[in-house]
């Protein structure tokens, strides 16, 4: 016994196993509640994941799921505006939320004595938000979301190209054929009845998963979950039908102008659905292509040819089908066409010869580190537990998720590369706008207020 202890002490400390240990209950109304204890810091994080996103929007209402996310902070019956934020921040907590095409995620973080307050406030808005909703609240948040669109897309270099791959890869009518931020016209068209209908349809306990991680006793978490959520009735959810997997029938080309200094080239392909076969290989592929200074496209476009200053490859991992993107910003004096030629050449090489064992092994190591990094903050652990419950029906599926990556082989990566990169794609080029003449035209003031 002593000898084996000494042996362990002498060896380099092995990396602790990557795993999550959440306990889970399901309330009668369908709400799944997960709790994991960690006493290392006196904090707690709650993550409430609703299975509704921009794909569930009605025609003519793009951007609505995200606008609705903003409205969730506008006060409900028992915690009226602006107390959701003021109560929390007064006690040292903070919160945020995010919306994508598949889901809307709300989280709180703070000292562990705020746990019951988090339950109280999340319950209040799930149970009573509609009763306290007003047209003024909608108007106020609409302005803010429109400012968000300006700040994140319109006034950011190449921001409009990011909207293109969200909107142009999947065909018209497909739930992924519009962006989560939506259009100004659709945001302006949203009405109070839309808000009430959306809330009553989707914000129900059987459409949500709640996860808590921190310096809390799981049994106390479950008791609070019953106290604050058991009374909220379940509701039948609309049937969702996943569209058939999609390949673009032919190449599609777009040219945009933007207020930028240099040209940009962007490719986007439909790719396998998140957590489905090929999805992990696609993540591995983007890492081999463009993550870090040893990656193929960085080495070729930025380092060797010096025709680009930046190259990226990434995936939007989505439930009905993902989007695989490669893009690059041209070095001064170089053109989008040169970028495309170099990318095409590297993709051709990859499809001909596949990836090396060394590239694959390195990528697996990096992806494992990524998982380890997600275990550091309480908040990202709570989010992972909720996500695994949604995806696998088991919050403790980290090993299962990780195995998708560690089991990839050069052959499986090549097969995925052929299936994605060998298919038709969206090609976008961004050209610098001709600069407006220097003489300014007066921009008249306009009331931005709502009150």
């Amino acid at each position: 016994m002593l000898a084996s202890l000494l042996l362990i002490a002498a060896a380099a400390a092995p990396a602790p196993a990557l795993s999550l240990h959440g306990e889970k209950i399901t309330l009668d109304n369908g709400l799944v509640v997960i709790a994991a204890q960690d006493k290392s810091v006196p904090g707690v994080s709650m993550d409430l994941w609703y299975r509704v996103g921009s794909r569930d929007e009605e025609p003519g209402r793009t951007g609505f799921a995200h606008l609705f996310e903003h409205l969730m902070f506008m006060g409900a019956v028992h915690v009226p505006y602006p107390q959701f934020d003021t109560i929390m921040e007064a006690a040292g907590g903070n919160n945020n939320a995010s919306t994508n095409c598949d889901r809307t995620n709300y989280w709180e973080v703070g000292p562990s004595n705020l746990l019951e307050t988090f339950f109280w406030m999340e319950s209040d808005r799930m149970a009573t938000l509609d009763r306290a909703m007003t047209d003024d609240k909608l108007k106020a948040q609409r302005l803010i979301v429109q400012n968000e669109r300006r700040q994140s897309y319109e006034n950011r270099p190449y921001g409009m190209a990011d909207l293109a791959f969200e909107e142009q890869v999947y065909p018209k009518g497909h739930p992924y054929s519009w962006s989560t931020i939506g259009s100004h016209a659709d945001l302006e068209a949203a009405t109070l009845p839309d808000v009430l209908k959306f809330f009553r349809t989707w914000y129900v306990p059987n459409n949500a998963v709640l996860a808590v991680v921190g310096d809390v006793d799981p049994q106390a978490v479950f008791a609070m979950a019953k106290k604050y959520f058991a009374f909220i009735p379940k509701k039948e959810l609309p049937k969702k039908e996943a569209p058939a997997p999609y390949k673009m029938p032919e190449d599609k080309k777009l040219t945009l102008t933007d207020k930028v200094e240099n040209e940009k080239a962007l490719y986007a392909w439909p790719s396998p659905a998140a957590f489905k076969p090929g999805d992990a290989e696609a993540d591995i592929l983007q890492s081999i292509l463009a993550r870090g200074k040893a990656s193929r496209l960085y080495e070729r476009l930025v380092h060797h040819d010096q025709i680009a200053t930046e190259v990226r490859a990434f995936q939007l991992n989505q439930e009905y089908g993902s989007v695989f993107v490669i893009d690059a910003v041209a070095a001064p004096g170089h053109h989008a066409q040169e970028l495309r030629h170099a990318i095409d050449d590297e993709v051709k090489k990859l499809l001909a010869k596949g990836v090396t064992r060394a590239e694959l092994d390195s990528t697996k190591s990096r992806l494992q580190s990524d998982f380890a990094r997600r275990l550091e903050p309480l908040q990202s652990r709570a989010e992972l537990l909720a996500q695994y419950e949604v995806v696998y029906g088991d919050p403790n599926s980290l090993e299962k998720d990780l195995a998708r990556y560690t089991s990839a082989t050069p052959a499986s990566v090549l097969a995925t590369a052929k299936s994605i990169l060998g298919s038709p794609k969206l090609s976008v080029e961004v050209l610098p706008e001709v600069k407006p003449e220097a003489k300014p035209t007066e921009v008249k003031p306009q009331s931005g207020g709502v009150k």
Partner: protein, 549 residues
């Protein structure tokens, strides 16, 4: 003397002239009696008006309260079974505090300090080599030298090419990056535990054996110049460039760590070599955060004992340091802006849908005894969602997606800055509100509740800041380069406990001068007409690099 009387007489005659037009002339006594009567009537009328206004206000408030009560009653009437559990707000029990770590410290033979924060079972191990060679040490006219030197550390060392170094890091699943801040140049490697010796070897190669290959240098410089050109299209970057140049001029804080196309263009490889030759064990430190013990860390970083005394290492203040740069810690050195500092700077971005607003001034260094008080004030002004700036510009007025403020504390008097991207059509109104909120937060005491919020958020902010190994290592690196003690973070919570509203207000008044702050707008020049009411001086035009036009 004559002028004074004249002025009075003129005033009188003018007053008579105006009354004449409306009423017949009266003798002095009658005049006096009438004036008394008029005064009394006016007073009575004023009092009546006031009372009516107050009554109306009360009525309106009562009506609003009644309406709210009715609405609440209606909402409560619609309560569903079991919802009554929400009628009682949960209590928030007192919590035992969080104690920030203080690293254990040991010195290598060459005097290099090794600081270790041990966290059993931590999923990530972080190792960082920190020097004080930040961008404030860039020579005059060569802004960006520290930052591009950092890039060159990753571009080849110990007979390995840039690509081979990256491959080595990748194979360990490690993140490797070298970066410059205003006060430091930091090389960081982090990975899962169990690879500490390999991490130490990689870090030593990068920090001690850079090969500064001429071919890589040409590429690195061209790439940096291109990135800087791309950033010229980003109003948020331009606003900060212009602000730093306007605030600090040629002093070390007058450029961002990245530098500008002009100053980076002036840098040669020889500059990089002599800059890095300054590395000195007395001006550097190694910080390790993770599950490794001190003994394991010392073994992994043993090679750093080979760092000899630096060549030309600065012991005094760097050349070109402004008189405010750190030598008047906490003395309100920056209270009054330097003569000639422009109050209003405009960077042209025609046709943009938003204006970037930036308002600020040089503040105090990290060593200032006011630091914690100023941080608490900042949570309330612009450092939280419920901050005054965010509530006003975003929630109340819908001008913006968000508005914030912060202090760039460091070795020198880093900037206090408030910023927001606002819709172009509301630029003038939004700037007016921003200036009003800043002045209010400095001139008037916070409420007790606001200060309590500031304290609570700073205390838990510390927990969140130290959740990740990399962030923790960089937080302590920041203490080292700002030249403040390693127990600074641990002292924050006890300092907050005794902090009063009056102390916060006094600290704000010592450090900030709302009337003398510099205002930068990066946006469409057509908004100038919206600014009339603010009575700003004529704008100084700067380009997106911060250079005067």
């Amino acid at each position: 003397m004559n002028a004074r009387w004249m002025a009075a007489a003129l005033a009188f005659s003018m007053a008579c002239a105006t009354t004449e037009q409306k009423k017949p002339e009266l003798n002095p006594l009658e005049q006096e009696q009438l004036e008394e009567k008029q005064k009394a009537e006016a007073f009575a009328a004023e009092a009546k008006k006031k009372a009516e206004a107050q009554a109306k206000e009360r009525e309106e408030a009562a009506a609003a309260a009644a309406k709210a009560a009715a609405e609440k009653a209606a909402m409560l009437k619609a309560m569903i079974a079991g919802e009554d559990v929400l009628l009682t707000r949960p209590t928030i029990a007192p919590l035992s505090g969080f104690e920030a770590p203080v690293p254990a410290e040991v010195k290598l033979k060459n005097g290099l300090r090794v600081l270790v924060i041990e966290r059993a079972g931590a999923p990530i191990e972080s190792l960082v080599f920190v020097t004080k060679l930040g961008s404030t040490r860039d020579p005059a006219g060569k802004g960006g030298l520290s930052s591009i030197t950092a890039a060159m550390l990753e571009a080849g060392s110990a007979k390995k090419s840039q690509t081979q170094i990256a491959q080595l890091a990748d194979s360990m699943g490690a993140t490797l990056r070298a970066l410059a801040t205003t006060d430091g140049l930091e090389a960081l490697v982090s990975a899962q535990p169990g690879k500490l010796n390999e991490m130490g070897a990689l870090l030593a190669d990068v920090a001690m054996k850079p090969n500064f290959d001429p071919g890589e240098w040409k590429k690195a410089k061209a790439q940096r110049l291109a990135q800087l050109t791309d950033e010229m299209a980003e109003p948020r970057v331009a606003a900060v460039n212009a602000a730093m140049a306007a605030l600090y001029g040629d002093a070390p804080l007058g450029h961002t760590p990245q530098g500008t196309p002009k100053t980076v263009g002036a840098i040669e490889l020889a500059d990089v070599k002599s800059f890095w030759a300054q590395v000195d064990p007395s001006e550097a430190v190694i910080i390790a955060v993770g599950s490794a013990t001190q003994a394991q860390v010392l073994k992994a970083v043993a090679r750093f004992e080979g760092i000899a005394k630096g060549k030309g290492a600065a012991t005094a203040a760097p050349a070109g340091a402004g008189k405010d740069a750190g030598d008047k810690a906490g003395q309100g050195a920056s209270q009054a802006p330097a003569d000639g500092r422009p109050r209003f700077v405009f960077v042209d971005f025609p046709g943009r849908p938003q204006s970037v607003l930036w308002v600020g001034q040089p503040s105090v260094p990290s060593s200032s005894p006011d630091q914690v008080a100023l941080r608490a004030m900042n949570v309330v002004l612009g450092g939280s969602f419920t901050s005054r700036l965010n509530q006003n510009l975003r929630e109340k007025n819908g001008y913006s997606y968000g508005a914030f403020s912060n202090f760039a504390f460091g070795k020198g008097p880093g900037a206090f800055q408030a910023a927001s991207s606002v819709k172009t059509q509301v630029t003038g109104a939004a700037l007016g509100e921003m200036l009003k909120e800043i002045a209010h937060a400095v001139n008037d005491p916070l409420s007790n509740d606001e200060l309590d919020k500031g304290k609570a958020m700073l205390a838990y902010g510390l927990v969140e800041q130290l959740e990740r190994a990399d962030q923790t290592a960089l937080a302590f690196a920041g203490l080292f380069t700002a030249e403040v003690p390693m127990d600074t973070l641990r002292k924050i919570v006890p300092q907050l406990k005794t902090l009063t509203v009056a102390e916060v207000n006094a600290a704000a008044k010592r450090s900030l001068a709302p009337d003398a702050m510099t205002i930068v707008i990066a946006g469409d020049p057509g908004v100038m007409g919206q600014l009339d009411a603010l009575k700003l001086p004529a704008p100084q035009k700067r380009d997106a690099t911060g250079a005067k036009q």
